[in-house]
């Protein structure tokens, strides 16, 4: 997880999503949460996912874990280490999740089982996936909690989740996610629910614990600063589609999609001085009635006729081949300006 060295696309990605579509069948109709999304994550790579609330970030990766709600209908392909996850049965899914692919959820306060001791919640994974004895599993759990900088780890095995602070619980979740040395960790807004003061520590911990390069990380976040600082590559999502993707640092320095530019102006960033925040105008898309053209067209300040009729495909956005965008516009020479900056 070093920000400065974007890796070349791995010939055999850990996770490859192709033309993913997720619909939710509801009483009022179909909610089209993900609409033809493709992306991949290389071995050891840290991929950032950004997008406004409701852009389909969580559902995309819940689909990879086989954790979608029952009213979800999925099409397309998600291959993890060469195995197709869509339509996989419970046995096939359970052989992978919690072992090779793990997930850290947004809300550490409710994501651990309240009536079970922390120790058991960790050891059950090792006993189930690696056939460790209870003793060996406990030893490994202590080791992992120590790596996650939980003080007095051995004694804390006997604690219940409510006896930990939010930040400590998220450390437990990180330890849990990395217990089995997985090939991919999906961290879905791991710090959103935490105090600002703890957020940086948790992210640093995640970065340190995955630094060996064996584990790929998908970091979902609203916080562009977080993504820019930690990720090799970034995917910008809107209405369940990729709007723009590319090397994190370069992309944020001068985004090529009007939506990314809007996002950048709408969130505070520590590394950028002054200027007022400008929220993106208009409403988030109605996933039950998406327009035929570009989904962002109704809110785009640069919109023109073609945007309303023709759906833009992903195409190269700059000289770097891995930098692509789904936009009919030519491009932007200079970074977006904030009013008053």
């Amino acid at each position: 997880m070093t920000p400065s060295t974007p890796r070349p696309a791995d010939p055999a990605p850990v996770l490859a999503i192709e033309d993913l579509r997720i619909r939710f069948v509801t009483r009022d109709g179909a909610v089209r949460a993900v609409n033809g999304l493709s992306l991949s994550v290389g071995r050891g790579e840290t991929l950032g996912i950004v997008g406004e609330s409701g852009s389909g970030k969580s559902q995309t990766f819940l689909a990879a874990m086989g954790l979608l709600a029952r009213n979800a209908r999925v099409e397309g392909s998600i291959r993890f280490e060469g195995r197709e996850m869509i339509g996989a049965g419970p046995r096939a899914l359970n052989a992978v999740r919690g072992k090779r692919m793990t997930m850290i959820f947004q809300d550490p306060m409710t994501s651990l089982t309240p009536h079970m001791r922390i120790g058991r919640q960790l050891t059950e994974v090792l006993e189930h996936h690696e056939g460790l004895s209870r003793e060996a599993a406990r030893a490994r759990a202590v080791e992992m909690l120590e790596l996650a900088r939980i003080p007095d780890a051995r004694a804390r095995l006997a604690s219940y989740p409510h006896e930990f602070s939010g930040g400590m619980r998220q450390r437990v979740m990180i330890a849990l996610a990395l217990l089995t040395n997985p090939a991919l960790v999906i961290a879905d807004e791991p710090t959103t629910a935490l105090d600002v003061t703890v957020q940086a520590q948790i992210l640093a911990l995640l970065a340190r614990m995955t630094a060996s390069g064996e584990t790929s990380v998908i970091l979902i976040s609203h916080d562009l600063g977080v993504i820019a600082g930690l990720c090799d590559r970034v995917v910008v999502m809107y209405a369940g589609e990729v709007m723009e993707e590319g090397p994190a640092e370069a992309l944020f320095a001068n985004p090529q999609h009007p939506y990314t530019r809007g996002l950048l102006r709408s969130v505070p960033r520590l590394d950028r001085a002054g200027g007022d925040l400008v929220p993106i105008a208009g409403q988030p898309p109605d996933l039950e009635a998406l327009p035929p053209g570009c989904p962002f067209a109704p809110r785009c300040p640069h919109v023109f006729d073609r945007c309303h009729t023709e759906h833009p495909a992903l195409r190269p956005a700059a000289a770097v081949p891995s930098w692509r965008k789904a936009c009919h516009l030519d491009g932007f020479e200079t970074p977006p300006q904030r009013e008053g900056a």
Binding site: V96, F105, T113
Partner: protein
């Protein structure tokens, strides 16, 4: 933990005292007395009887004497069942009631939790709908209907089981009372379990358990079930007390020698001490079972443990 139990029992003492006091005076306000028969007794004999049982003393004195007896574990003599003390009657009746009630409770818990869980796992399926419809029927049909009907069908027409009677507590004699007593409870428990389980299955921690790749039965039983049945526990305390101390209706209809029967018979006969004795047993059972329920609650939800 020991301190918690002790504290709770101490808190319960004043409650028990109030219940006994209320019951004592309410019995006495009710018209009639233990020796009012079809034929009036000759005045001298009635006076002698009253003197023998201390009923001629002023009411406050009788009350204090009764309390004093209770403190020594003496429930007094029964007015109607001559030669027996109330304690003896309760000690013969209580085991019968508890055997009937405990069996019904176990049945109700097992099937209630099982059906509720299946309903939640197959939410809105045909199984779910039929279980829940049966549950509604179970709740609405009263025991005084199911008891005679089942007794008639299985006892009289089919002759598979005794239609009534204790038969030294043989399994055959217990089955119908167990079923009759557990049916309404199964209905309630399965509904409560289903609701709790649906909520638990939607929770974030069950999602985490699934994300761990644990097999579904482990997810459901280890992670979801304890959370799902936590709300059940607070309902079960009083329900279990009612069951274990004898059901008036079921003991009457199946002619079981439990203490529920003593309560009805004792009340009708103005057998003051017997009724009070049963009331004390019932109130104590409620206190103790609520305490057990609270301890269980703490086991299921460590956040509320013994505070």
């Amino acid at each position: 933990m020991a301190a918690f139990v002790l504290r709770r029992l101490l808190i319960a003492l004043p409650t028990l005292f109030v219940i006994v006091t209320l019951a004592f005076f309410m019995m006495r306000i009710a018209p009639g007395g233990p020796f009012d028969g079809e034929r009036a007794l000759p005045p001298e004999i009635e006076a002698n009887l009253k003197a023998a049982y201390n009923l001629d003393a002023p009411l406050p004195e009788q009350y204090l004497r009764y309390l004093g007896g209770l403190l020594r574990g003496d429930f007094g003599p029964s007015f109607k069942t001559k030669d027996f003390t109330v304690a003896e009657l309760i000690l013969t009746g209580l085991p019968v009631s508890m055997k009937v009630g405990a069996g019904a409770l176990v049945l109700a818990l097992f099937f209630g939790v099982l059906l509720g869980t299946i309903g939640a796992l197959r939410q809105n399926s045909a199984i779910d709908h039929s279980v829940m419809s049966l549950a509604i029927i179970g709740i609405t049909i009263p025991t005084f209907v199911t008891a005679p009907v089942l007794s008639l069908v299985f006892g009289v027409y089919l002759g598979w089981l005794p239609a009534g009677g204790w038969h030294e507590g043989s399994l055959g004699a217990l089955i119908l009372p167990w079923i009759v007593l557990s049916l309404p409870l199964i209905a309630i428990i399965s509904r409560l379990t289903r609701t709790g389980m649906i909520e638990a299955l939607r929770s974030n921690f069950v999602r985490t358990a699934r994300a761990k790749g644990l097999p579904e039965p482990v997810v459901v039983i280890r992670h979801a079930l304890p959370a799902a049945i936590t709300p059940l526990v607070s309902y079960l305390g009083p329900a279990a007390a009612g069951l274990l101390t004898g059901s008036l209706i079921v003991e009457k209809i199946f002619a079981l020698p439990g203490i529920g029967r003593y309560f009805v018979d004792g009340a009708l006969a103005r057998d003051y001490t017997l009724v009070l004795g049963v009331v004390v047993v019932f109130a104590t059972a409620i206190v103790v079972l609520n305490l057990i329920a609270d301890i269980l609650y703490g086991l299921l939800d460590p956040r509320v443990r013994y505070s």
